[in-house]
């Protein structure tokens, strides 16, 4: 993939030369981005996105959050050039979103994996590789690597029509990564995945960030967003309601939590006394619960290690 990286570097330097306003640290820029859906006669049907101003920085995981119909998918489609803005501008890598050449550095996983069901996994990735004008050797190598990466080695010669939803999602992600993109746009990346798949997808997203890629994802599964995103934007009925770092947005500044291990009951009582002495209110002292996700993953992991046996302690 050395060739691809060098080509994207060349591309960046070219852009810097031609567009003096281009800031390589800003990957996505939405300026007053508005989308109004109209009917055949041009009458306004719905205002899907209203004057969105947004910047996504290089190397971060950015989450678009909101209920159904809030404008998340519309924003992603505008950024991809699948829709044209009614007003405002969507800029990706310093280029207009309708410009085709920007796609060379983008990977996109749509909401549903809209892939050709009559192709096999290998054929699918090979086809998308060709669309990036990849030479044959690079393509072959990349296809095999991605198939292994998304864990579809056993099903690579099966037509996608035979795939389960989770498998389709994985091959969808693989096609989004075929060009080793600098920016990955993920529309509901965990939808339809089992907890194990969800975990893997989230790990993959974090790994992409570690590789220096920028990830933009939209989801209404708050837990997923909280787990992986560095920054989020919350949309509601087409308006931007909140924007910022996840850790600072979720921080409750007037509460303090203390976590400790193997603390005897007497010590717990002593701590309560200290809190009272300093005028604080004790909200609760209890043993923390693990999440269902963690429990589930633990069971699956143990089952893989000792197949056929009931996982010990799971009923305790």
């Amino acid at each position: 993939m050395a060739t691809d990286t060098s080509s994207s570097e060349t591309k960046t330097s070219k852009l810097e030369q031609t567009n003096p306003d281009y800031n390589p640290n800003i990957v996505i820029e939405a300026q007053n981005l508005t989308k109004i859906y109209r009917d055949f006669w041009g009458r306004q049907k719905v205002r899907a996105l209203n004057a969105l101003d947004l910047e996504v920085k290089k190397g971060e995981i950015f989450g678009l959050l909101g209920p159904n119909g809030s404008g998340k998918s519309t924003t992603i489609k505008l950024l991809l050039g699948l829709l044209f803005p009614t007003s405002g501008r969507a800029v990706v890598f310093g280029e207009n979103a309708t410009e085709v050449t920007k796609n060379e550095r983008i990977g996109y996983l749509p909401e549903e994996s809209y892939l050709y069901k009559f192709l096999t996994a290998e054929e699918t990735l090979d086809f998308y590789g060709r669309l990036f004008d990849m030479p044959s050797e690079v393509r072959k190598e990349r296809v095999q690597k991605l198939i292994q990466q998304v864990g579809l080695g056993h099903a690579k010669r099966r037509q996608l029509r035979e795939y389960s939803k989770g498998m389709t999602r994985r091959i969808g992600l693989a096609q989004a990564l075929i060009n080793d993109p600098d920016l990955v746009l993920l529309d509901e990346p965990t939808s339809g995945l089992d907890p194990l798949g969800t975990r893997e997808m989230k790990d993959m997203i974090l790994k992409l960030r570690d590789e220096g890629k920028t990830v933009v994802m939209c989801s209404h599964l708050l837990g997923d967003v909280q787990d992986v995103c560095d920054r989020i934007a919350i949309l509601y009925q087409g308006d931007l309601k909140e924007l910022g770092r996840v850790d600072s947005l979720l921080q409750v500044s007037d509460e303090t939590s203390i976590r400790a291990k193997n603390l005897p009951a007497a010590a717990q009582e002593e701590i309560r006394e200290v809190i009272k002495k300093h005028g604080g209110d004790v909200i609760g002292v209890e043993n923390p619960k693990s999440t269902l996700e963690e429990l589930f993953l633990q069971i699956v992991r143990e089952s893989e290690q000792r197949p056929g046996q009931r996982v010990s302690g799971s009923d305790s």
């Binding site: 041009g42 796609n103 050709y116 990036f132 096609q175």
Partner: protein, 661 residues
């Protein structure tokens, strides 16, 4: 079959290019205008200007950045998709059924080759065009409906690549389908036409034939016309819906080395007064084919066997006259007599009447490039004629009408140079019966001085003497009083050596291929902005317009009875019939001029639909003519022009479309 004058590629190309350029320019201007108007409604006039300029500006790098690898990837996908849809396989099965059962209906004719070729070519054309229309109308709308196109357009894929990839992919598939159909048809036709006959009678010997009394014109046993030198006759059994007449013909030769004496069909050779008198058994042609006769043994017990059919699968290269002029009975130039038939395609030559027996009426065929190299320096050149016959009295309908042929040189300077004039050679013909007359290079004739006086007579060379300057006139006259021979330019031609049949057959399929490519390009372009059912309807409509282009162009002519659309409407309202003139005045002039304008614009619009008749060469194969390379070049150029135009339409339509809407 009517072969009309056809311009050469170079003559056709420039006006064709101008027409194409004009249409493209008009389409671009119209597209810009419509785009601007639509964008103005959405974004206001200033923003609209910017949007239109942006689309146009982005189109240039899009065209330049079109990558062959991406186009091929899209083409491969289109092929796979169409194969998985199984439409092609269904078409192929229908074709196979057509061949299997069609055979039952194709026999029972004197010319089975014509019927076979007609049916096969029509079937292939219909199936191929419908198949490619189906697969290419479904593809893009399905992609948009299933949103699979999202994963395509978010890759660095240009709209040109999506369109071109599909056109090439479906084109490839259609080509394979067409090639397979063509190949199978070829074997099917050749296998089915491969036949031979047995002689009617108990034994397959000379004893099965019956003798003909000298001087018989019409056979008493068969009722058919007898050749002048026939001494015996017979008939073959019926195969493929026809039988042949067999005749033993008697010839005389002075030379012992005459190659005819060694022919396999020799029945007997006798020495009479120092000359060789020999008899040959010939099989008379039916529907353009005959059979080689082999006679083994002597006397009445000599065995007769007939070989396979000869004369099928021809690709005749006709050498037509540059022009034909008619002279009337008095030697004045005219259009040829109109015998009252509806078609004025043929002019008729008057055979004179009882009072004026020596009619001067004739049709003169003028050749300006009659050179030996066009006929491979052959000693004998076949002249083929298919003439109309108009009888003013019935008499014996079996009796053929006599015509006369005469060659004349055309001196560059007739005032000082002598002319060569050949003897008139008579021939007999029935209506629309193909006459094949071998014309020898050595022609008996005379030399005439410019003042008309006789100079010399003897045997002269057709090329070296008559057509020394490349020019030659052939005049055709009717020699039977009160009868007429009808002829058009394409009815009389010299037959140069034949084209290679399989190559001509291939050229016939190039025509269908061109139609197929236009249909694909049309369906793909339309499907960038229409849904599947509307695309199919649109393409079908264009096909109908394409196959009836001359008729539809005729409809748009302003000088039709009843006038153009406005005039017709006024005639309906005022209840004036088509023959009554409208009152002269400003209003009428205005109506006529408006109609004129509208009719011309409507006429221009017909050029948007391809003229499929121009791309249809099946009749050449059916009638056994070579397809001129010029026609193929023109057809390919037309196809390319349509594909370019439709790709442009598809590109701009896809480019300006919100895929995710």
């Amino acid at each position: 079959m009517v072969l009309e004058n056809f311009p050469t590629f170079s003559e056709w190309f420039l006006p064709g290019l101008v027409l194409f350029g004009g249409i493209v320019l008009a389409a671009i201007l119209l597209g810009l205008f419509v785009g601007y108007v639509v964008a103005s409604f959405r974004h206001g006039p200033f923003e609209a200007f910017y949007i239109v300029a942006q689309v146009v500006g982005e189109s240039v790098p899009d065209f330049l950045g079109t990558s062959p690898r991406r186009v091929m990837a899209m083409a491969r996908l289109a092929v796979k998709e169409a194969l998985r849809r199984k439409v092609v396989i269904v078409a192929f099965v229908i074709f196979a059924i057509l061949l299997l059962f069609g055979q039952w209906f194709m026999g029972g004719t004197e010319n089975p080759e014509k019927r076979f070729m007609n049916t096969i070519m029509f079937g292939t054309q219909l199936l191929t065009l419908l198949t490619v229309m189906l697969i290419s109308s479904f593809s893009l709308p399905e992609d948009i409906k299933n949103k699979t196109i999202y994963t395509i357009v978010t890759k660095p894929v240009r709209a040109t690549e999506i369109i071109l990839g599909r056109i090439l992919g479906f084109g490839f598939l259609g080509t394979v389908l067409l090639a397979l159909m063509g190949l199978i048809s070829f074997f099917f036709v050749s296998r089915n036409l491969d036949h031979t006959h047995a002689v009617v009678g108990d034994t397959q010997t000379i004893a099965s034939l019956t003798a003909i009394a000298p001087g018989t014109e019409i056979s008493e046993t068969t009722g058919k016309r007898v050749s002048p030198n026939a001494v015996m006759e017979g008939e073959t059994n019926v195969e493929l819906g026809h039988s042949h007449r067999l005749e033993v013909l008697e010839f005389t030769t002075d030379s012992d080395d005459d190659p005819n004496l060694k022919a396999p069909d020799i029945v007997s050779v006798e020495d009479v007064d120092g000359k060789k008198v020999f008899r040959r058994l010939v099989c008379l042609p039916v529907g353009g084919h005959t059979h080689q006769v082999t006679v083994s043994g002597t006397g009445n017990d000599a065995k007769i066997s007939l070989g396979p059919a000869i004369g099928y699968f021809r690709a005749r290269i006709p050498v037509y006259a540059d022009s034909v002029t008619f002279l009337n009975r008095d030697g004045q130039q005219d259009e040829g007599t109109n015998v009252g038939k509806e078609s004025s395609y043929r002019g008729f030559i008057d055979g004179g009447n009882a009072r004026q027996r020596s009619s001067l009426a004739r049709a003169i065929f003028s050749y300006s490039d009659f050179t030996p190299d066009r006929f491979q320096n052959a000693d004998v050149i076949p002249l083929e004629m298919t003439l109309g016959v108009f009888r003013t009295y019935k008499g014996d309908m079996q009796k053929r009408v006599t015509g006369g042929l005469q060659f004349e040189s055309v001196p560059d300077n007739p005032e000082v140079e002598n002319r060569f004039v050949s003897e008139i050679v008579n021939f007999e013909t029935n209506e629309y019966q193909l006459q094949i007359r071998p014309v020898s290079r050595k022609v008996i004739g005379k030399i005439v001085a410019p003042d008309g006086s006789f100079v010399a007579e003897g045997e002269y060379d057709l090329f070296d003497d008559f057509a020394a300057n490349g020019k030659l006139n052939l005049s055709l006259s009717c020699r039977d009083v009160n009868q007429y021979l009808g002829v058009a330019r394409a009815d009389v031609y010299f037959r140069a050596s034949d084209d290679v049949y399989w190559f001509n057959y291939l050229k016939g399929y190039v025509g269908i291929w061109c139609q197929m490519m236009i249909i694909i390009a049309m369906a793909v372009a339309f499907s960038t902005f229409l849904g599947t059912p509307i695309v199919m309807l649109g393409v079908l409509m264009m096909m109908v317009v394409g196959f009836f282009t001359p008729f539809i162009r005729g409809l748009t002519a302003a000088d039709r009875d009843g006038g153009g659309p406005i005039e017709s409407f006024i005639r309906i309202v005022t209840q004036k019939n088509m023959q009554v003139n409208l009152e002269t005045g400003v209003a009428t002039t205005l109506i006529k001029e408006s109609d004129n304008f509208v009719s011309h614009r409507m006429g221009d619009l017909t050029y948007l639909a391809p003229n499929f008749k121009q791309l249809d060469f099946s009749s050449f194969l059916t009638y056994g003519y070579s397809i001129d390379n010029q026609r193929i070049l023109v057809a390919l150029a037309i196809t390319l022009a349509f594909c370019i135009g439709l790709t442009l339409l598809g590109y701009f339509s896809l480019k300006t479309r919100e895929i995710a809407k």
